[in-house]
Symmetry: C2
Amino acid sequence: MIDILDRVRNKALHAKIVSAQEAAELIKPGMNVGTSGFTPSGYPKAVPLALAERMKEHPFKINLYTGASVGPELDGALCEVNGIDKRMPYQTNKLLRNLINSGEISYSDLHLSESAQLLRYGFYGKLDVAIVEACAITEEGNIIPTTSMGNTASFVQQADMVIVEVNTSQPLELEGMHDVYVPLDPPHRLPIPIVKANDRIGTPYIPCTPDKIKCIVPCDITDKTRPFGEISEADHKMSEYIIELLQDEVKKGHMPKNLLPLQSGVGNVANAVISGFVDSDLKDLSVYTEVIQDGMFDLIDAGKLNFASGTALSPSPDGLKRFYENIKEYRKHLLLRPQEISNSPEVVRRIGVIAMNTAIECDIYGNINSTHIMGTKMMNGIGGSGDFARNAYLTCFFTASTAKNGLISSIVPMCSHVDHTEHDVDIIVTEQGLADLRGLAPRERAREVINKCAHPDYKPMLMDYLERAEAATKHAQTPHIIKEALSWHEKFMETGSMK
Amino acid sequence: MIDILDRVRNKALHAKIVSAQEAAELIKPGMNVGTSGFTPSGYPKAVPLALAERMKEHPFKINLYTGASVGPELDGALCEVNGIDKRMPYQTNKLLRNLINSGEISYSDLHLSESAQLLRYGFYGKLDVAIVEACAITEEGNIIPTTSMGNTASFVQQADMVIVEVNTSQPLELEGMHDVYVPLDPPHRLPIPIVKANDRIGTPYIPCTPDKIKCIVPCDITDKTRPFGEISEADHKMSEYIIELLQDEVKKGHMPKNLLPLQSGVGNVANAVISGFVDSDLKDLSVYTEVIQDGMFDLIDAGKLNFASGTALSPSPDGLKRFYENIKEYRKHLLLRPQEISNSPEVVRRIGVIAMNTAIECDIYGNINSTHIMGTKMMNGIGGSGDFARNAYLTCFFTASTAKNGLISSIVPMCSHVDHTEHDVDIIVTEQGLADLRGLAPRERAREVINKCAHPDYKPMLMDYLERAEAATKHAQTPHIIKEALSWHEKFMETGSMK
Ligand SMILES: CC(C)(COP(=O)(O)OP(=O)(O)OC[C@H]1O[C@@H](n2cnc3c(N)ncnc32)[C@H](O)[C@@H]1OP(=O)(O)O)[C@@H](O)C(=O)NCCC(=O)NCCS
Ligand SMILES: CC(C)(COP(=O)(O)OP(=O)(O)OC[C@H]1O[C@@H](n2cnc3c(N)ncnc32)[C@H](O)[C@@H]1OP(=O)(O)O)[C@@H](O)C(=O)NCCC(=O)NCCS
């Protein structure tokens, strides 16, 4: 068995070390299970794999609550045995997505800042068990998390019993990189006293007691983070447009020379955009974000990023290696917080974050669809995009102007599903250009979006729609031809092309 | 001339007292003008009327920024002479609405908590002039507001010049009822230190200096508040459903016996719902809201409401009379704050507001349209509904299940415009019943909404749509038949009925 004795610093707890199989036996059908993990980082691995084995022999289901997406040993393994009934609050797993979109799994797609408090409020039922990946357990029974914070602290607080996976693949130098703060709930909640990205307000461990820990499982399976796609010409352009805008904002006196704290979303585009900052002359930057991807390491290495606060490390496999190898240096610049704090509307608005997230599609008026392909099939979920978009100083969305080799226009007359309304969207960027929607009314927004962001193949069609919609509604606030508003999606589904 | 000498306590300022006509001369074509006023309360009257007279003779336009809607002497009078080019952030005036929906006025419909900061950030251009209704001006040149706070403090801070209308119809007892706090902007902003509805954090006046005050205009025109409709049987039912739910939440331990601070939206339905609390056995209530309507006075009179914090008094004409007559008593229970604070996401989430707002329509998945009739024509605006809905402890929307004598179902397959997404909506109430959407995935939400809230005339049609959409999408996360999703609206526009 993997030796974790020196990582379990409370000697009495050594008696609770069991195998993953024994731990998995504690999980009963229908239980509400909360786990650590946010992106494929810091999620439990051994116990879920053992649980999946059990389910294979005696099929049953649990309800799974996490921080966000998790790795294949959890979402993947449980889906393979059809072991999930309800799932919240975010996911990116292909198999899970299929089960969600075939009615097998009941999926609550939630604002990530809200998921822990919804559970604490009692709206998601009682949490039966928390399964938590740890670097170590202290004398007092406190838990040192690993590569993500997510909702783990609240799950530990709320669960009837706690199962800890001590993962020896996670370096002990992670200790001290966390800032754990669980707000009280109304009517007792107090201000969250963060005024800049590197403020520490909590403890470097998840408060717990030895008796709350039901058992401890050794594990040495590594985080299965995922590689990013190549940074394309289009990504480069988007990055350039936004940097140009931000430099202009500095010139106009709208923000300080070192900008305001950056937030950057999940996925390829977001990572590529952040990477572009390396080549700019911007410096002394700070980041207040959800996930810390490779681009942030580049910025630290380039000496441009002073500090990044997030809730999870979300690098590529290479990025994770690089982080582990230079952890002593990187930890000076990084802090992981509960997602309730990394995504806190209170803090995001106070410190004035510049929010940069990716859209699936946006419409001419600046509404954004982040989640539903053709209005019906769940892609991933809203994640933290709403937490940031609603409260940021400046809210930017990025998307390539087309998808599926140009057969889909990502700029459409009307979004087939709305996650962010026009009220929340300042800037839209595609490889075609940047639309600045601040201070514009819908009819003006539409012209800006079409002219700056649409692909040339679709620009005339969009302008034609807008003009006919204006005529049909006699220039109403938000012109639409209701009969035609979703016809582009219809056409794609019927013919395989929006053209 | 109306005698305001004793209300202008700085004697040197007496020299700046001028007529409304003289003051109006200061306003030039194309200027950005910010005024006091939130609902038809506390808005300037004499200067706008004089300005409208000027515009009648020499047509020109200004950009008008307010707190929210204002009275007929401002929006109404300026619209009659087509004197508005851009308008933000909210309105309820019929004439103005028509000009917005005929392409004459460029209307930015904004979250009310954001409008002042967007101006301070520089995103809405430079503010040329602030026109502010006051009770009095202090020795130091500070301004005592009247029946609303709105964005006035930020307008005074940002404007090149300030015109003060001292209104003698506003009782001096209003002094002390305001708590003026303008946050610093990022990167200097600090926590807003409110932890309960009655916390005072600012000054009882709007900070100003004598030299910033360009001129002072006497006025005695009263606030033109509007009567509420009769409270209907349907309103009563909605009120009963929500009170029953809240009592149940108390029993479940989800909230304290005296609930959490209530927020209640604008309009008839919201006022009626709050009135219903008078007959309940709930007590020691507090209110943290935007507008204080008649129902709140009823609750104070009944000894059930300890304290109400808002940004505006928004009573009926009778309610206003009642308030003036008992101001000494009411002022013990009331406080007016800048709308940035009354609607602050930070505070709303911290203190755990119960948000109750009215929808125009909602769809089966719980998305809400608060603003656009048939997806295109602006009704009023999103107002503060997003500030509260996104951040509340419990987010409730109310609407009659049908409109226009049953020819429109307010529950539709897909909203024709989305202001609040399913992520933000916990509870939907119609006279038919209450749908509790917490913890439900979209397919489950749809059944709850249809079964509990839809009118019997439309229930089978909605269920038929849902079932066919499920079949067509093979039970996707959010089943829709894109071709049909907006067909109910189409049908209404073509035939005058959704049936
Ligand atoms: C929107 C989101 C899916 C984009 O991810 P990404 O990796 O940057 O984007 P990609 O361009 O690779 O697109 C992802 C997929 O969506 C498809 N897609 C993109 N635009 C599309 C459109 N308009 N219509 C249909 N499909 C589209 C792509 O083709 C691709 O499909 P594939 O996986 O079958 O190849 C992702 O950012 C997301 O889930 N966002 C929501 C959560 C969020 O914003 N979190 C931020 C937290 S702070
Ligand atoms: C939604 C809102 C318009 C409802 O106002 P209300 O006075 O309670 O509602 P009413 O039932 O009187 O409806 C208002 C009008 O909308 C019409 N209407 C209502 N539902 C409709 C629907 N589904 N389709 C078309 N029209 C509809 C009504 O017929 C009525 O029209 P009329 O003025 O021509 O008679 C109002 O609450 C609002 O503007 N809300 C947005 C801002 C907000 O929520 N602020 C809260 C701040 S904290």
